[in-house]
Symmetry: C2
């Protein structure tokens, strides 16, 4: 029988598969830090594809389609660091703490994830040790190196249809207890032509603001979670258009909340 879950005694990631998270543009001069928790649909070979069909393994369940392409563009446009997970959220969802069942979901909206059924505590701990803790340590270390407090921005995408219902919102602007960045972006979005909404299609009550809480609110940093409908960023033309709309909105918000020394 093929094992879809790894032996908790063996390494989850082989050396050639590289680290679970990476930072790009670490010395960027901008006063923001971007995060992409669901950047990749990569499943380490040790997990035998989690038993997923090819369709499920390439779907939104496995990653946020378009989010990393957008994040790379925005990191370049804003000259800010980008911290990203290199591992599918079906292996470990870096926007969830280890105690949450959906950190290693056995069921998505549509798909069952056979390799996540009945994980033992040792297997769950291995996933967190291999993926989540290195990710959060890299993000924490990246924030520590900034000369001045940055704005934290997390980048996500969502499906146009969820549980049979078409979503009309194009740009979701989500906040937890600190809505400074979200309110500025909502105002800026009004001239963008994008259908923007606060706390759509998810909100803090859905448990999606874990990164914001852990890394920004705990440090007093302004912060926001961006959700882009994935049909807007599933082609290079779409990514370029949304970058062109979002980059000045984010730059203006960052300038207001974390002005550069020359401007402060």
């Amino acid at each position: 029988m093929l094992h879809m879950s790894s032996d908790a005694e063996s390494p989850l990631l082989s050396p050639v598969e590289g680290p679970p998270a990476r930072v790009l543009n670490a010395r960027g001069a901008g006063r923001g830090v971007l995060v992409c928790e669901h950047a990749s649909r990569f499943i380490p070979a040790a997990l035998s594809g989690l038993g997923l069909s090819p369709e499920a393994a390439c779907s939104h369940a496995a990653w946020d389609i378009g989010a990393m392409d957008l994040a790379v563009e925005l990191a370049g446009a804003l000259d800010v660091p980008l911290v990203f997970s290199r591992i599918s959220r079906l292996v470990y969802d870096c926007n969830r703490p280890p105690e949450r069942a959906d950190a290693m979901p056995a069921q998505s909206e549509i798909y069952t994830i056979p390799g996540n059924a009945d994980l033992t505590p040792a297997q769950r701990a291995q996933r967190a040790d291999a993926v989540y803790h290195p990710f959060r340590q890299l993000l924490s270390a990246t924030l520590d190196t900034r000369a001045a407090p940055p704005v934290l921005v997390t980048l996500h995408s969502f499906t146009p249809v969820y549980q049979g219902r078409t979503r009309s919102v194009e740009l979701g602007i989500l906040h937890d207890s600190d809505d400074r960045a979200a309110q500025l972006l909502l105002t800026a979005a009004q001239g963008s032509g994008l259908r923007a909404a606060l706390n759509e299609p998810y909100s803090a009550t859905d448990g999606v603001t874990h990164t914001l809480r852990e890394h920004a609110i705990a440090r007093g940093l302004p912060n926001v979670m961006i959700e882009v409908r994935n049909d807007l960023i599933d082609t290079p033309a779409g990514v370029n258009r949304i970058t062109g709309l979002l980059a000045p909105m984010l730059a203006g918000m960052i300038d207001t909340l974390a002005p550069s020394e020359a401007e402060a």
Copy 2:
């Protein structure tokens, strides 16, 4: 009639489409600079898709499949700048000078490019002005800002089958008149498990070393052009595996040819 070529009087790129080229990780501490000339299959809206079929527009003719994903990984792994074109090589191939016919090809291996047929001199000049000159100026400026002379590495991918012939080479290491970096990489590749070859599947005589000549050889910088077979980097698992193999090879080569001040 739909115009597939733009009016040479109107802008080729709209403001929301953004700049033709970008740099990531501009302040990276590593002693290399990466270049990805064929990073994107994006065709500005003004060119009406160049009259391509959807298949052609997504094919290797339009971009180097996997090359940008690999480049982003390597820029992070090596902490070096990455300069990339955001425009399809069918609009303008940034690895070709404007006087070459294949800078704006009317025919690829398989596909005709209707929007490139019978371009006027004004249209050719517009393409070079909108895409090529900003790209080369950004690369040149990025090299100018480096504190010490870096190694220039260009990243490309190639199709597994070309004109009916299957290519067995997996990693092509190409050089122009300076083969220092190429020879070091060839030696390093011997332990990698990759089928590597010098000046395969192209070589300087095919005109593919334009970026090397213009930006590295003219400055006396060590340089090399990497070609990866695109079936090895068309999935996240493949990109991660090739990154894991290439990153230490490139790091070792860079350390030899452009040692850091502490090591020199």
